[in-house]
Structure formats: structure tokens, C-alpha cells
């Protein structure tokens, strides 16, 4: 009922409006450059508010998101040229983060004029003045941020470019599954086996935690096994048992890779049983992630049920087709489309709770001193939250689709995740959930990373 939300700031008076540009700059190059512009009396618009930080590597994307949430019309981020960083590589790390944030903003239809990046050295007072003048001119062109983006029209929530597909008949592995779990528990190889049991509603399965070999008959397997059980590996009520045996589909196994890579679990703590999966059902059809899944196993799976069963990779474009569909819209339409999605966000954070890779004991969205994400379930607060969630999963999300499945408001989080996965793959050649020994892509950099989006 977003129409009832009264907290949305009112539309600015366009007659008296002056763009507010927030600039986050590094101390050593850009700030000194801006200072030079001042001492040399170079004229440039007074609309810019400069926030000085030690290094562009310290310019957390949250600062940018928060600035927009607090009413900035535009944000300029500036640091030392590549090679000039006072701390050697801060700007290389920053460049990767900004690349992802920039792509995300573009995907959401946020006008490019509003989010700009530059390298300005201590000697480039003139360049600083030019950049600010140009960015302010751009903001004058696009005008104030409207409290609601508006104009979504009757756009559908789902593209029909890939019609829903039926779910293939699941393989019958239940007997072997129970036998394996029983063996693992009797051999004391694991203290708890996490699989699926019958749910209380017809046609539903739910996580089951088996601690005794006598209970393995509770385990079942079919196309309703949607939960990504890897999320339980970091939960206290599961860890209390000791070593965990975990039933994984190939998508779930990728999340285990992520947890190992980020040192959230120990390899010895978990034994993985792969189940050959040819697709699960979400909303009465084959889950979109399954269209493109090749069902391949990451190397770390310990045993695989019916290993000899050949898996037919399900082909299709899956979410890529829908991403292309979103990208075909004009930026204004895209913005309106996403706004309609985010307006429905209840801020329940179920998307966060279910995600195997959202394991922080205190989420930034819950912090109040300082507050990073406003609690208001209104246009700006919801946009900020959804940006933060998507950004934090960039290069980490394994595409299990759980966040989208559980969102009580049917928000297309899967498209945000898949878009960022595309960016990370195309720009950094990295696919999440593959090799636990690789560094996550936003913790590293290459000298030759692209920077066309930086002035």
C-alpha cells in the first residue's frame, strides 16, 4: 500500500531549485587539486559540497547511496589517477567497486548524470573546476530527483521472452539418499544430516535435521526441494550439533564454496552429499535459475547420489533474456519499473535472512549509530536498502534464487543479482561459487581493469 506512505519527501520547487552535488574526494590528489583551483581563483559552480576522505579506496559505496538517500541530486567521486595512489592501490580497489555500482545504477535507470567519477591529481585544479562545472550542468539538465519516479504504466513484472517451462520428473534417489545419510550418521562421520522432509502443506518440502540413523526415513527428495540448505551452515542451532552432513543441489554447493572462500566455515565441519537435480519448481514452473543450470558439481562435493545418472543440461537464456528485456526500456521507464518493485518492499529483510552469503552478525541496515540505511519503508529508504543488498552480493551471489523465492512482495531481486553477476563475469572474468581458493573479485584488482566510466 505504498500510496499510504506519508514519509516521501515532497517534490522540490523547480523554480528555486539548485542542484546539490556531493563530492567524495581523496585527500592526496583530488582534494589538493580542488584546493589549487581555489587558491588559483578558478571559478566553478558553488553547488558542490566536498567530503574529504583519506583515499578513494575509503569511499564506500554506502556513502554514495546515503548521499542520495539524504537528498543529493548528484554525487561525484574523485581520486588519484591510477599509479598515483598514496597508499599504492586504494584507487584500483575503488575502481572495481565503482564499476559495479555504476552498472547497478545504470540498470536501475538512474540518470548517468547523477553519478559521476573522475581522477583529478593535485596539479589539476583546472580539471577539477571543469569536471564540477560539467557535472552541475548535467544535473541542471536532468533536474531534481523526484520523490517518486512515476510513470511505470502497465509494465509486466516478468518478461515473457522465456515462457514458463514444466518441471521434469525428478530422479528417484530417495532410497540411496536415506542409506547414505544413515551410513554417515552411524559411522559418526557427521553429527547432523541436513536434508529435506515433508512439509505441513500439500506439495511442500522443508528442511529436515536428522541426528540419529533411525530417523533417516524422514528424508525425501523431489522437485519441491527448493531451499538452499547451505544457509544453515552458519546457524547456531545447526552448528551446535557439531559436524554437518549437507544435501546439496549443484547451485547450493556453490554457496558452500562461497562460505569456505570467505572463511565462514571450516572444510572439516561439513560433508557434502550432491543430489543429481534436473530442476526445482517455483510458482508452478521450472525455476528460472534451472533454465541455465548445467548441474555440474563443484569439486568439493564429497559424494554424489546415483553418480552414473547422466544429467541433461537444461538450455535457455534464463534470466539473461529478462535482463535484456529490462535493458531495452528507456532509463526513465526502467526507473519507474524498479520503483514500482521497491515500493512494495516491506523491509522485512527476509531476502537477507535466507541468503547463505548474508551471514553478518550485524547487518549495516540494522545499524543506528550511525544510520546507513533509513528504516522508512518509502521510496528512498527502499531504494537504498535494495541497492545495499544487491551491491553486497556482487561477485558473491551464487544465483540460488532464494531471496527472490522468499520475498513476500515478489520483488525481482534475481534480476539485480543476475545483472551484477554478468558485470562481474564480463569485467573481471569471475563466476561466484567455483573455486574456494580464488579471492573474491571485489577484494582484488587488475592494473588493466576497465575505467571508461571514469573521467
Amino acid at each position: 500500500m505504498s500510496t499510504e506512505t506519508l514519509l516521501t519527501p515532497s517534490a522540490p520547487d523547480t523554480a528555486t531549485w539548485k542542484p546539490r552535488l556531493v563530492a567524495f574526494v581523496c585527500n592526496w590528489c583530488t582534494y589538493t587539486g580542488a584546493d589549487l583551483a581555489g587558491t588559483s581563483r578558478t571559478e566553478y559552480p558553488a553547488n558542490v559540497r566536498i567530503v574529504r576522505l583519506p583515499c578513494s579506496g575509503r569511499i564506500d559505496p554506502h556513502f554514495i547511496i546515503r548521499a542520495f538517500e539524504q537528498g543529493a541530486d548528484g554525487v561525484l567521486v574523485s581520486g588519484c589517477h591510477p599509479g598515483d595512489c598514496h597508499y599504492t592501490a586504494g584507487n584500483y580497489h575503488a575502481r572495481r567497486k565503482f564499476m559495479v555500482l555504476h552498472a547497478l545504477a545504470e540498470f536501475l535507470g538512474i540518470e548517468p548524470e547523477r553519478l559521476q567519477f573522475s581522477w583529478v591529481s593535485a596539479a589539476e585544479g583546472r580539471k577539477w573546476a571543469d569536471v564540477v562545472s560539467d557535472v552541475v550542468a548535467g544535473l541542471l539538465r536532468v533536474g531534481p530527483v523526484q520523490p517518486t519516479w512515476g510513470g511505470a504504466g502497465e509494465l509486466p513484472v516478468r518478461s515473457l521472452s522465456e515462457p514458463p517451462r514444466p518441471v521434469p520428473e525428478p530422479l528417484d534417489v530417495v532410497g540411496e539418499l536415506r542409506a547414505t545419510a544413515q551410513r554417515w550418521l552411524s559411522d559418526c562421520r557427521v553429527d547432523v544430516f541436513v536434508g529435506y522432509g515433508q512439509g505441513s502443506l500439500p506439495g511442500r518440502l522443508r528442511p529436515a535435521f536428522i541426528t540419529s540413523p533411525d530417523e533417516v526415513d524422514q528424508l525425501v527428495w523431489n522437485e519441491h526441494a527448493v531451499n538452499n540448505l547451505a544457509t544453515y551452515l552458519t546457524r547456531g542451532l545447526v552448528k551446535r550439533h557439531g559436524r554437518v552432513g549437507l544435501l546439496v543441489k549443484s547451485c547450493d554447493a556453490r554457496a558452500v564454496v562461497g562460505l569456505l572462500q570467505e572463511r565462514q566455515i571450516e572444510r572439516e565441519q561439513v560433508t557434502l552429499l550432491g543430489v543429481p537435480c534436473i530442476g526445482v519448481e517455483v510458482d508452478g514452473a521450472l525455476a528460472p535459475k534451472c533454465h541455465t543450470c548445467d548441474s555440474a558439481w563443484p569439486a568439493l562435493v564429497d559424494e554424489v547420489l546415483s553418480a552414473e545418472v547422466p544429467l541433461t543440461p537444461v538450455d535457455g537464456e534464463g534470466l539473461a533474456a529478462e535482463i535484456a528485456w529490462v535493458e531495452k526500456m528507456s532509463p526513465a521507464q526502467r526507473r519507474a519499473w524498479w520503483q514500482a518493485q521497491f515500493d512494495r518492499c516491506l523491509r522485512c529483510y527476509a531476502c537477507r535472512a535466507v541468503c547463505p552469503l548474508c551471514y553478518c552478525s550485524q547487518c549495516i541496515a540494522d545499524q543506528s549509530r550511525p544510520q546507513w540505511v533509513s528504516k522508512s519503508s518509502d521510496g528512498r529508504g527502499n531504494l537504498a536498502w535494495n541497492l545495499v543488498r544487491a551491491f553486497h552480493l556482487a561477485g558473491r551471489c551464487v544465483g540460488c534464487g532464494e531471496c527472490t523465492r522468499v520475498c513476500p512482495s515478489n520483488i525481482r531481486l534475481d534480476l539485480l543479482n543476475a545483472k551484477l553477476a554478468q558485470v562481474v563475469r564480463d569485467e573481471f572474468g569471475y563466476v561466484a561459487g567455483g573455486d574456494p581458493d580464488l579471492p573474491p573479485p571485489l577484494t582484488t584488482y587488475l592494473l588493466e581493469d576497465h575505467e571508461e566510466f571514469i573521467r
Binding site: E4, T5, G199, Q341, R344, C348, A350, V354
Partner: protein, 338 residues
């Protein structure tokens, strides 16, 4: 009051008459593949089959509500008013469970000290209930003493019958709405017992065991809560979709110029809910948090008010990403005591 029941052609026809009388209406509409309560201008926009994903509580208890604002001046601080409640609204097509949920919230927020922001919104809402003739697999109203045609919390209740719809006038506010509807309603009576029986027969059998409130209270210290709650993710979806859950947090959002104090939904399933400033958390794990949910609904509240704090809508069971079923957990926990 003149006749307390009327007949009309259909629920749609009643809605059309309400809109024609110039009333602002919020009703279930299909949005993004799910049913949600939203403002409607034409009767055809309303979707009168099925259950909304979220309950109707949001109209009276919005997920974000400004209690007051403030602006830093020189000197002093200027206080700004809280939210202006929305215009008087007819909440149409509310299922009996949801209407009963509003009645429970009325009791909670109406008790001294009365909650002015809630009551200001609530006073402007007329509830037009709509009986269920097609219960869903997760429906459980009969387990908590309600029925698919129960009248609790409705000002008017519409019950679809073979020959049209029965309109029961239940409150003065309902009667005032009827007065605006003219020809659309004809004085008349009909028996809804058959519809009730048919709907109840279509429901999955769910029941709460006798002595549940005491059984649960006795089970408070049981270690079994850890097993019962192991699959719970603490996501809070259950509380957010529930028509009777009413916990909130009060937060300030401010900057250099001023700010606002807000009430936002909260849920006992979040670790942050009971976290003390000292860092101590009396509900340290999900077992304690889930136990709170079960006991508040089926033990603490019933002991104080004589009925469960659950209207059996089944939304929490249906929407839970981990397949938790509060009826099952409560009954098992209480039985473990027996």
C-alpha cells in the same frame, strides 16, 4: 436499527455502489502476481477471490508511520506534526480472519494508554468483510474458534450465496455506509449456515489441543525448542504478513536540519528485537525467539484475553520460507509436557 440484513446481487455490485457513493475504497487487487490491498477506483479492479499475501492491518498500522517531525531552528527546535491520517476509507473484501485480526489490534492499541496514531487511522476505516467460500490449504480459522463466515471486526459482512449476497449490518458504522448505498441493497434475509458448513468441510482439519495455553507455559524451559526452531531463519516474514502481530520499533531519522520520529514494524524473530544496549540479549538464539512467537500467540495472550492471538489465516504457514507451521509446533511443544 432497521433490518440488520440485506440482499444484493453480488459483492461486485455492493462495491460498485460504494464507489458510486463517492467513498474512498481499498480492496484486494492483483499486483505483480500477488494479491495486495490497494486503492481502487473501479469495481473491476478488485480481485475478490483468494487471500492477499499481506494482511489488511497495514491500513490501520502502516509499516512506517511518522509520529512527529522536528526542525532545528535558531534558537530551539520546532516540532512538526505526525502523519495526517488518510481520508476515510472503506476497506472492502476483507476476509473474516483479517477482520478479526483488526478487532484484536483494536484491543491491543485501544487499551490504556491508548495509541493515538493507530486510533486516528482506525476511526476512519469501515470494514466490509467478505466470507470465504473457497478456503485454501493453509486456512485454519476454525482451529481458533472463528469460521469462514465469522463477523468479528467487520462493520458489514458480505456472504456469497447461490442467489446473490447476504449483507449483514454489524455496527453503526456499517449502517451508516448502508444508508449511502440506496437501491443496491434490498431488505431481506437468508441463511448462511449452509455456506459456512460447506466452506468448513473444505478446510484441512487443523485443531488446537485443549489446555494449549497452560501446556505451552509449562514447556517454556524445554530444550526441545531448539529442535523445533532449528529450521526457522529468523526472517520475520511470519510477523510481517500476520494480521495480529503488532510489534514495532521507534526510530529517529535525522540530519543537520531536522528529522522525524517513526514507528516501523518490528518482529520478535529478529535478534535485534531484544538486544540490550549493554550487548546482552535475553533471547539469545532462534529457539528463544520462536518460543516467544508461539507463546505470545497461544499462551500469554489467551491467558489474558481468553482467546488466541491468532485468527487462523494461515499466512505464516504459507509464506514461511522454511516451512515452519506454528500450529504444529505449538501443539507438539505443549504435548511434550503432557
Amino acid at each position: 436499527m432497521s433490518p440488520t440484513t440485506y440482499l444484493a446481487d453480488s459483492a461486485q455490485a455492493v462495491l460498485t455502489a460504494i464507489l458510486a457513493a463517492g467513498q474512498r475504497v481499498v480492496a484486494p487487487v492483483e499486483q505483480a502476481g500477488l494479491l495486495a490491498f490497494a486503492h481502487v477506483e473501479q469495481a473491476e479492479q478488485a480481485q475478490l477471490i483468494g487471500q492477499t499475501r499481506a494482511s489488511a492491518k497495514e491500513l490501520a498500522f502502516p509499516r512506517t508511520q511518522r509520529l512527529f517531525g522536528y526542525r532545528f531552528g535558531n534558537p530551539g527546535v520546532e516540532l512538526l506534526p505526525g502523519e495526517e491520517p488518510p481520508a476515510p476509507t472503506v476497506l472492502f473484501g476483507v476476509r473474516p480472519c483479517d477482520a478479526a485480526g483488526l478487532a484484536i489490534l483494536d484491543g491491543v492499541f485501544g487499551a490504556e494508554p491508548a495509541d493515538a496514531p493507530y486510533l486516528a487511522r482506525r476511526a476512519r476505516i469501515t470494514v466490509v468483510g467478505l466470507s470465504c467460500d473457497q478456503p485454501q490449504a493453509h486456512c485454519a480459522c476454525t482451529a481458533v474458534g472463528l469460521s469462514p463466515t465469522a463477523t468479528d471486526g467487520s462493520d458489514l459482512l458480505l456472504t456469497p450465496l447461490a442467489e446473490g449476497v447476504l449483507v449483514e449490518v454489524l455496527t453503526a458504522r456499517g449502517a451508516a455506509l448502508v444508508d449511502l448505498l440506496g437501491e443496491a441493497l434490498r431488505p431481506g434475509a437468508a441463511d448462511k449456515a449452509e455456506v459456512t458448513a460447506r466452506a468448513e468441510a473444505a478446510m484441512a482439519p487443523r485443531a488446537l489441543p485443549a489446555g494449549l495455553a497452560d501446556g505451552l507455559a509449562a514447556a517454556f524451559g524445554e530444550a526441545a525448542w531448539a529442535d523445533a526452531a532449528a529450521r526457522c531463519l529468523g526472517c520475520g516474514t511470519c510477523a510481517f504478513v500476520c494480521p495480529t502481530c503488532h510489534c514495532f520499533d521507534v526510530v529517529d531519522e535525522s540530519n543537520l536540519r531536522g528529522g522525524q520520529r517513526l514507528r516501523v514494524w518490528d518482529a520478535c524473530q529478529f535478534g535485534l528485537f531484544t538486544l540490550h544496549a549493554s550487548g546482552h540479549n535475553p533471547r539469545a538464539d532462534q529457539a528463544a525467539r520462536y518460543r516467544q512467537r508461539a507463546l505470545h500467540k497461544f499462551s500469554y495472550y489467551p491467558r489474558a484475553h481468553g482467546r488466541p492471538m491468532c485468527v487462523g489465516c494461515g499466512r505464516c504457514v504459507n509464506a514461511c520460507p522454511a516451512g515452519m507451521d506454528i500450529f504444529e509446533v505449538a501443539a507438539t511443544a505443549a504435548a511434550g509436557q503432557g
